[in-house]
Subunit: 453 residues, 2 copies
């Protein structure tokens, strides 16, 4: 019977790992260029840190860790008989696995506030765990790649984060469109139509315009309880189009009576202007129907779609004003982005965008003809490695065919054949695994060959 | 009240992370040069994969994950009343956290055996979790950095792994001595004195020679139940010294009657000879008292000590012959090493060996004098980042002093001051944060300055 792994989890084999490292290294390098610094937090957090932060459903999806030792002592048999699983879990378990990187980051900022120099720009690339029902593209263990700036209200942070998004996807070769909106604009809309609690329904309805047409959108708005007057006022917003500037002009006139709404327009305009000046490679589009995580974000929000693949959002983020308030440190503003590594992995694969050297990392395999030859190769291998070249000496003097199969499986660029003659002459027979061509080289010539890609 | 994290776990702040990344990146690069390929396995394994693999004590130290949903349904109130925590845990929990990288690797090899080309050289750098009592230098979450070759009996694998050890510590600048021994030699010793079950007691006693002297070692050997004749036979081994070659010669004569023992001598000799030919930077010493993980290893075993710091073993490993047997795939030989990242972290710190650029990664901070100036800096920042230079624009136009404090805290090499004059002239005032010297540069000159370290 084959051993297995828990459902919703994955092993990453060498080729997958090389591709994932390509993704993480690219993101990491861009974060570094923008001055973000990496932190890591423990996989286990106190359950009290996690509970109540992700809604009732989230509490259920937390993986909880059984207290070590006599966990049983916290619950008497009578209690056990009389309580539900949901009530018993926090008594059997003091710890849970990280559910996202945001709450641990908030906890980190509060706990370490005396050491931190504000603004604090951190990035974090770690797995998170959720007891979701596994399905295609949804896992119980997956990586998040977050960058956040806390301790600065400046919109330049939003600008930089969107530059980072643009730069990362440019490096990947993935064409994207970034949608931007602002929570204050949505609040403004709710204000002027007097329906603060309906804003999600409204954005959902408006978002269907292309699919169902204006009449049906209006019908849906009425059906969620909007007055005729409110629907009327929303008309310019529903049929909003044109350039970002044109959209903003319409929004400003619609939101003229809402101070908050106008503030939202100002913020979006500042970010759009700064990014136009800085120059982006990809489109940036004001989209009033974008309404992610309303309870959490307070200013600009953004979401990235891949243009050439049918897939959900591959990156998102926004401004929040009270992340650390839940841990007793109110008034600290922040803004962040999160790259969706699993979806980016799929997009790069579907578009065949992985660079060759992300998977083929072995430059040369020395065929093993016996102990004496292998010892000679070992010395040369050491020289080549000192030059940064990845090489292997096949460990066993088995049949040539088996060793060549290994070279193929490892996608080695070259194979070296060193027998008695070669050792005597101090030259190496080298075979190009792609062309099949063979040549005899000195160690110096071999080094030059392998160093050139 | 400050929020906290579970005992025995740690947050890694930016400076610590930069140092840890320096360690991991160095090890990873050397692994790559030797053709090892990275894999990752899930943090959670089925409890059935983990239980029984680490002894009775190990089972207790496994972190177990409460089944999600109605975990209670697996245990009736009557059962709950009548069972111990140890009996109940596997019924409440199907999954546990990885305890080391070895068992998950064995599980991986068996599960993926049809995809793997043997020999399979993998490395893995991931955290593991143990419910040990936390104490200085011992954590409940810590990283392991393992490399293993499975599917090859060749001693060249041992040779390569010891070359890797030598290369990694050379790159770190840590002077080491690697102790080597062979399980077969220990088996041989047990054979010739007729006390197979006493081999651990024997090595422990012999190891005390320097501290307690020969008479006391012999007394201890008698006290653990060795016959006078056995103690007599051990004398050449207890006072073994000289070069590795001299030690081997003595061992061969002592072990003349043990086929297994002589085989162990042959193996050690092959490895020592090959490494002498290949050339090592650090000492390699045959040490008969080295006896790590007896139940597990079957051939060569090794352990690394730092010469200039008083600390336990910082790396270890050895040959095992039946790693995958527990999962139904017998007869697959392997050999591996494991770097102790936490101890290496401490050694590098105590010897002040971290390179400067492992922690100081910000090259330049643009001081923010206002929105117009900041916008101008943003464009220049983009240019510099394209050259691979890490720069930041301070996001808020706050007091100079505050911004300079930030530059200091971030250990920025330079600060750029761009006011109206500078913008008009297209030149940047640049201050060297170490010397305090200031100069006026064109963007091109600035790029050159920052690119040169």
């Amino acid at each position: 019977m084959k051993p297995g792994i828990p459902k919703g989890t994955r092993d990453f084999s060498p080729v997958e790992m090389a591709r994932r490292n390509y993704i993480f290294d690219t993101i990491r390098e861009v974060y570094r260029l923008y001055g973000f610094r990496q932190i890591e937090t423990p996989a286990m957090e106190n359950l009290s840190t996690l509970m109540g932060k992700y809604g009732e459903e989230g509490d259920k999806l937390l993986f909880k860790i059984l207290n070590s030792g006599d966990f049983r002592s916290a619950v008497t048999p009578e209690d056990y008989a009389g309580r539900t699983a949901l009530q018993l879990a926090p008594r059997f378990c003091e710890k849970g696995l990280r559910y996202d990187l945001t709450v641990p980051f908030a906890r980190y900022v509060v706990q370490h506030r005396e050491e931190l120099q504000m603004p604090f720009k951190r990035y974090q690339i770690q797995p998170v765990w959720r007891a979701d029902r596994p399905q295609k593209g949804r896992y119980r263990e997956f990586y998040q790649c977050d960058a956040d700036v806390v301790g600065s209200d400046s919109l330049l942070n939003e600008v930089e984060l969107l530059q980072i998004v643009d730069e990362v996807f440019t490096r990947f070769g993935i064409r994207i469109c970034t949608k931007i909106n602002n929570r204050k604009i949505l609040t403004g809309i709710a204000e002027i139509i007097g329906a603060a609690d309906k804003i999600v329904d409204i954005t959902v309805a408006i978002d269907k315009l292309d699919k169902i047409g204006l009449d049906n959108v209006n019908a849906e708005l009425r059906s969620v309880g909007l007055s005729e007057e409110a629907v009327e006022r929303l008309q310019p917003i529903i049929s909003l189009n044109g350039t970002n500037g044109e959209k903003l002009a319409v929004m400003r006139s619609v939101l003229a009576a809402s101070e908050t709404g106008l503030k939202g327009c100002d913020e979006v305009e500042f970010v759009l202007d700064a990014l136009r000046d800085a120059g982006l490679n990809n489109a940036l589009e004001l989209d009033l129907t974008l309404a992610r995580g309303l309870n959490y974000y307070t200013g600009c929000i953004f979401e990235v779609k891949a243009l050439d693949v049918q897939i959900g959002s591959i990156t998102g983020g926004g401004r929040y004003d009270n992340l650390t308030g839940i841990f007793g440190l109110p008034g600290l503003s922040g803004v962040g982005i999160s790259f969706g590594a699993d979806r980016i992995y799929d997009v790069l694969g579907q578009l065949d965008l992985y660079p060759d050297d992300a998977t083929a990392d072995l430059r040369l395999l020395f065929i093993n003809f016996g102990p004496k030859e292998a010892a000679w190769c070992l010395g040369l291998a050491r020289r080549l490695r000192r030059e940064g070249i990845s090489v292997e000496v096949y460990p066993d003097a088995v049949k040539m065919k088996k060793q060549m199969n290994y070279a193929n499986a490892r996608r080695a660029a070259y194979v070296a054949l060193v027998g008695e003659n070669e050792m005597a002459e101090g030259r190496i027979s080298v075979k190009n695994m792609e062309t099949g061509g063979q040549q005899s080289l000195s160690p110096e010539e071999l080094t030059v060959l392998l160093k050139n890609a």
